[in-house]
């Protein structure tokens, strides 16, 4: 079982590798910022009889979700909440009817709580008391306040976005000067690189975007007008829209796709899937709960003097020989190509083996900035690969000191949902292919094939338990639990919020659905006296414990010095088991825990004695 354990322990290490390899560079791009600008006039609080929720309530729930998920996935982003159309006001320029609930900052537990106070019927009452409503507000003023919030931030902002939540399609119908001011201000924002999105909500009679908002909102090159047209009546729709807007595409790297013969186009590499992890713990000073800095120092064990990186070299030991390389050389030997995708050729998609998987895929999309004209060639390639059902085999060097791997570029056609929202962009997926070394030989026992009746019975079971898989169906219970615990501590809750573990099998539901089919199947495949548990791990456990006792006894038969020397001569020391090696080490006062360490310790001891 050592191998599996090894994997378990390596997991973190590998993850780190992955993290390093795929880290998008946030450092250089600055922080992302997003202001939720929420219409607080009375019409927003009217309950939609179909969905039984008011647009305002839906908005608060939506912002709550964004807050908590930002805490989990990108806690460096800055968020703000601004109401307009309130009776009271709070903002740096004392504009009436604009109330800044939260200025731009990374969200924390307190903010989540403050937001939650305005949820539901009780929240509505409270809102009325605290802030009140007014029809005199000006959208232009509200936008002005928002732009001030951005400029008050000293940090470098990479992405500035305002999401406007409203169900009023003609806010200044009777006041042309206010309407003009709003347009002018929206234009100013656009010019300073601030994006304004409209999150238009349900309104009886429908939301007519052409009345006012068509000229106000920004349309980036990425968007089609069509994508904006439908209002959101359900929280899910609204959330999806918010997410789609909020996700900035962070490019992992940009590189050339070299087709050969001097034909090159440039592409950006993206991670459409990126494993979210429980964040690492930080150390705090006990007295103040402030984070402490952690410094690692290298020093000479004998003289105690500090070592600079240039004072050390890198080494590996094989047998009894230590091989030393300069640190730069350990990087140089990993260097094959510069970052690039190099075309090898084309293969039918059917030749791509489903089970040849070694790591999560990446995605590429053309990049005009490096080589103009890339999009046209990319599109031609994509069109033809889709039409002919072929994938492109490439040699892929993700970064400079990384050895190449081969990938299959699998064509992806754009997909839209019923609302016209893009669910899958067009481009190529990069599917990593295994080398010979990555495929393990497995000894299998002979093939026993079930008969027709047995198969047919199982088919009925399968069909009874059919559901539509969606990749967003399952939350990660480890991460969710972690953040619920933190939330409870942060907010002084008695108990963390309940969490449904969606990864658990609902046995009662399954049993209920397949009813007697389960028994019919088991009676077809198992003899009456067969008990899988008796043959399964339980029994094995018993066997194991017996075996262990036996093994222990064996170890006591010590490995003699002659025997060790014999093993060293023939290079077969590795054949001894870990307990045996440990016993040997104990005898000679050597240290080590992993097999390799034990072997190295013994080898070096006997080479000297």
């Amino acid at each position: 079982m050592s191998d599996w354990r090894a994997h378990y322990h390596n997991e973190d290490e590998e993850d780190q590798d992955e993290a390093e390899e795929n880290e998008e560079d946030v450092k250089f791009t600055g922080r992302d910022s997003l202001i939720f600008l929420i219409d607080a006039s009375e019409s927003m609080f009217e309950v939609n009889s179909e969905t039984e929720i008011s647009p305002f309530d839906m908005t608060i729930q939506c912002v709550h979700k964004v807050y908590t998920s930002k805490i989990i996935s990108s806690d460096r982003d800055l968020l703000a909440v601004v109401f307009f159309g309130t009776q009271k006001h709070k903002n740096s320029v004392d504009f009436k009817h604009v109330y800044v609930l939260h200025d731009l900052d990374s969200p924390g537990a307190k903010r989540v709580l403050e937001l939650d106070r305005y949820q539901g019927e009780k929240g509505y009452k409270l809102f009325k008391e605290d802030l009140g409503h007014s029809w005199d507000g000006s959208l232009g003023d509200a936008l002005w306040v928002c732009s001030n919030l951005f400029s008050d931030i000293r940090l470098k902002l990479s992405h500035k976005r305002i999401m406007l939540f409203t169900n009023n399609d003609n806010p200044h119908a009777n006041d042309s000067s206010k309407a003009r001011m709003a347009r002018t201000k929206a234009n100013d924002l656009r010019e300073t690189g601030i994006i304004l999105d409209l999150m238009h909500l349900w309104k009886s009679g429908g939301f007519d975007i052409s009345l006012f908002y068509r000229d106000i909102v920004s349309l980036s090159e990425d968007e089609d007008v069509g994508m904006q047209l439908k209002e959101s009546a359900k929280l899910d729709d609204l959330l999806r829209k918010v997410w789609a807007k909020d996700y900035k595409k962070r490019v992992v790297s940009r590189m050339n796709l070299n087709l050969g013969g001097g034909v090159e186009l440039s592409v950006g590499v993206y991670n459409l899937i990126h494993s979210a992890r429980r964040p690492a713990a930080i150390r705090l000073y006990r007295e103040t709960n402030e984070p402490v800095k952690i410094k690692t120092r290298w020093f000479n064990g004998e003289t105690g003097s500090l070592l600079l990186p240039s004072d050390t070299k890198k080494a590996q030991v094989y047998g009894q020989r230590q091989i030393v390389l300069e640190k730069e050389e350990t990087e140089e030997l990993r260097r094959f190509d510069n970052p690039s995708l190099v075309l090898i050729g084309f293969k039918p998609l059917s030749l791509l083996k489903k089970h040849h998987h070694i790591r999560p895929s990446q995605f590429i999309y053309p990049e005009e900035e490096l080589i103009a004209g890339s999009t046209t060639l990319f599109r031609a390639l994509l069109t033809k690969c889709l039409e002919r059902n072929v994938c492109i085999i490439c040699r892929y060097t993700p970064r400079r000191n990384t050895p190449p791997r081969f990938v299959a570029m699998v064509p992806q056609e754009e997909q839209l949902d019923s609302q016209g929202m893009q669910t899958m962009p067009s481009g190529f997926h990069l599917i990593f292919l295994p080398f010979a070394d990555d495929i393990r030989k497995i000894s299998f026992t002979g093939k026993v094939v079930a008969d027709r009746d047995q198969i047919e019975k199982m088919k009925r079971v399968v069909q009874k338990l059919k559901f539509k898989y969606r990749p967003d169906s399952f939350e990660n219970p480890v991460i969710q639990k972690h953040f619920r615990n933190l939330e409870a501590l942060a907010l002084d809750l008695k108990e963390p919020e309940e969490m449904e573990d969606l990864t658990l099998a609902k046995n009662d539901v399954i049993d209920g659905r397949i009813e007697q089919l389960a028994e019919e199947f088991t009676s077809l495949v198992y003899p009456p006296d067969y008990n899988p548990d008796a043959k399964g791990p339980q029994k094995r456990k018993l066997d194991e414990s017996a075996g262990r006792a036996e093994k222990k006894a064996k170890v006591e038969v010590l490995v003699g010095e002659d025997e060790i020397r014999q093993h060293l001569r023939s290079g077969t020391l590795g054949k001894l088991t870990v307990p045996m090696l440990k016993e040997v080490c104990k005898q000679y006062g050597l240290k080590g825990s992993k097999k390799q360490e034990l072997l190295d310790a013994i080898t070096s001891y006997f080479s000297k004695h």
Partner: protein, 607 residues
């Protein structure tokens, strides 16, 4: 216990007279064989393979083998018995073993190898017994025994292989790990339980050893110590002890103290190992690019449980027939995090199993939106451009279809990871010459990663057409690009040799594509010489010297073709010397050449 997977290999290496003969500028068979033997042992040593290897030399001056009598089995030495290869062996091959002037019957050598294999494997279990022979087969041997020997080998279960070139990498041992069984139960609700065992079947293999830091002067790792200190965020960076600190986590802008004990107690816990079906879905709904994680498991029925085998088979076949897959909760053990994954059927001639791959959680997905390429007016594609891409796909097809079977010209799953090979090459180099810079990339290693030559050749025209039809303008924004060219256009002569070796038949294409001449080579010295003389900054005397060195090499071969080549060189030299006013120099050279030729008694026939 899993059966022992080690094998025993005898390297049977001809070091005799004919092996060291070679054309000028080319490697002798001895040198070529040495390369392969080195690579083979290198990989075993650095991959810490448990396979045992013996080395038998034949054609040696001396004799040392158990079968030798006064007139039998002469000039054969058992250099080393079956052992795990180590540095000593590597060093012997690298610099200890020399070519000799004798020769031996290679069939005798084979018999010595068989004898060695039979005697030294007695009583031990090996998965495979193998003899690899490195010879040019130029020494005489008595073929009458050949059938008998081959027959005997078959009976003893010994496989035999003749190796002549570095390209035959099939013998190279992959990095192999013994697959470990993971017994568990597959459950569908509480009523259907199948005993299974899973193996990690595909995973990115890593090198077992990692780099350790050593002191640059003493080269001792004991001299490098690491310490971690904690300090406050004040101006003095006041140090505090580990005991003065507690653990905490970020919750957005808040920092929450959360002790390890509390965290352990409150964290998500599983009930231990698990492989339970949550439901079934159409296989088209689980797209390839959803796959996450870094491994693939193969799931079989528990060993020696034929009832489990029948039950699992029923599941495998029903999924296959319905084109459906299972969505599964997988937990490796009590301490590990649960996964959601897909289990799909894999049915082969010899076995069938479920294959498990991890799928993403909601938190892992990123909903990036990209401009639609379909409706993008800025990137309109013409019919002509599309058919140019069509032609490219046709000309770069990696799959040959002869009407019956598909032949894959580029099977990635058969290529060994070049990173390992490169690391081993560098480690060995540094072990023997610690002060030299790293060696260049092995040419054969590089060629392994390149497009098959036939595909490269057949795509030239369609690429040219592509270039014509698509406007691609480099903005020069990528700084690295220049570097890329410098690195990739490798002028290393060894590498050029490798390219030639890869495509003997059409080296003209290669040499055309190769670009600048930097020295007079042996392949086409006259042309090289002319090219060099035309480069203004080159010293005529120096280049002429290079040319004449080639001429003398050719004369050594004593073969008509090479005499003619020498003559061409002399002619060109004369012509170019006249052009640049160096006739005097040429005359001196010619005089020396004449003396040399007379001395050696060469006859230039036909002139």
């Amino acid at each position: 216990m899993a059966p022992s997977a080690k094998s025993a290999v005898v390297l049977c290496w001809d070091v005799g007279r004919t092996m060291s003969m070679a054309l000028p500028g080319e490697e002798s068979s001895f040198e070529q064989a040495k390369k392969v033997v080195l690579l083979f042992i290198q990989r075993q040593v650095f991959a810490e393979s448990k396979d045992e290897t013996a080395l038998v030399l034949f054609g040696t001056d001396g004799t040392s083998n158990p079968l030798a009598t006064s007139d039998q089995y002469q000039h054969i030495i058992v250099h080393r018995g079956l052992m795990i290869p180590d540095f000593d062996l590597l060093e012997d091959v690298h610099s200890g073993i020399k070519a000799s002037d004798d020769q031996a019957d290679f069939l005798d050598a084979l018999i010595v190898c068989m004898d060695l294999l039979q005697k030294q494997t007695l009583g031990k279990k090996y998965e495979k017994l193998h003899i690899a022979v490195f010879t040019d087969l130029s020494s005489p041997f008595s073929s009458d025994q050949l059938d008998v020997i081959i027959d005997n080998m078959k009976r003893a279960g010994i496989t035999l292989q003749f190796l002549e070139s570095v390209e035959q990498l099939s013998i190279f041992k992959k990095i192999e790990r013994k697959p470990m069984a993971w017994p568990c139960q597959l459950t569908i609700g509480s009523k259907i339980t199948i005993n299974i065992v899973a193996y990690k079947a595909i995973t990115e293999e890593k090198i077992k050893k990692s780099w350790i830091s050593v002191d640059a002067k003493t080269l001792r790792k004991e001299d490098v110590r690491r310490e971690t200190v904690y300090c406050l965020n004040d101006d003095n960076e006041t140090e505090v002890t580990m005991e003065d600190t507690i653990q905490g986590f970020r919750y957005g802008s808040d920092i929450i103290p959360f002790s390890q004990v509390d965290q352990e107690q409150m964290k998500y816990k599983t009930n231990g190992k698990c492989f339970s079906v949550l439901g079934f879905t159409k296989s088209v709904q689980v797209l390839r690019h959803y796959y996450v994680g870094r491994q693939v498991l193969k799931v079989f029925a528990a060993k020696d449980d034929e009832h489990a085998a029948v039950a699992l088979s029923a599941l495998i076949h029903s999924l296959e027939e319905l084109e459906m897959v299972a969505i599964v909760r997988y937990v490796y053990d009590r301490r590990s995090n649960p996964q959601i994954g897909v289990a799909f059927p894999l049915i082969k001639d010899k076995y069938e199993c479920l294959t498990y791959v991890q799928l993403p959680f909601m938190e892992d997905l990123r909903q990036f939106t990209f401009t639609s390429l379909k409706n993008n007016k800025k990137a309109a594609v013409s019919e002509e451009q599309l058919s140019a891409v069509d032609a490219l796909i046709d000309s770069m097809n990696l799959v040959m279809d002869d009407g019956e079977e598909l032949e894959d010209l580029f099977k990635v799953s058969k290529i060994p990871n070049p990173h390992f090979q490169r690391l081993f090459q560098c480690l060995q180099w540094k072990a023997f010459q610690p002060d030299d810079p790293l060696p260049p990339l092995d040419p054969h290693l590089k060629s392994m990663l390149d497009q098959p030559q036939e595909v490269a050749d057949s795509s030239l025209a369609s690429l040219e057409q592509l270039k014509k039809l698509f406007t691609l303008r480099d903005s020069g924004k990528k700084k690295e690009q220049k570097m890329a060219q410098q690195i990739f256009k490798n002028n290393d002569p060894e590498e050029q040799d490798a390219k030639r070796a890869r495509s003997d038949d059409d080296f003209n294409i290669v040499s055309l594509a190769e670009g600048t001449v930097t020295a007079v080579g042996s392949l086409n010295p006259a042309k090289d010489f002319q090219a060099l003389v035309q480069q203004k900054n080159v010293n005529f005397g120096e280049v002429t010297k290079q040319l004449m060195e080639r001429v003398y090499q050719f004369l050594e071969v004593k073969n008509h073709q090479y005499y003619m080549k020498s003559l061409d060189c002399v002619k060109v030299c004369r012509k170019e010397a006249a052009k640049v006013g160096e006739s005097q120099h040429f005359n001196t050279i010619l005089k020396t050449l004449k003396e040399n030729v007379e001395q050696k008694g060469c006859k230039i026939s036909g002139s």
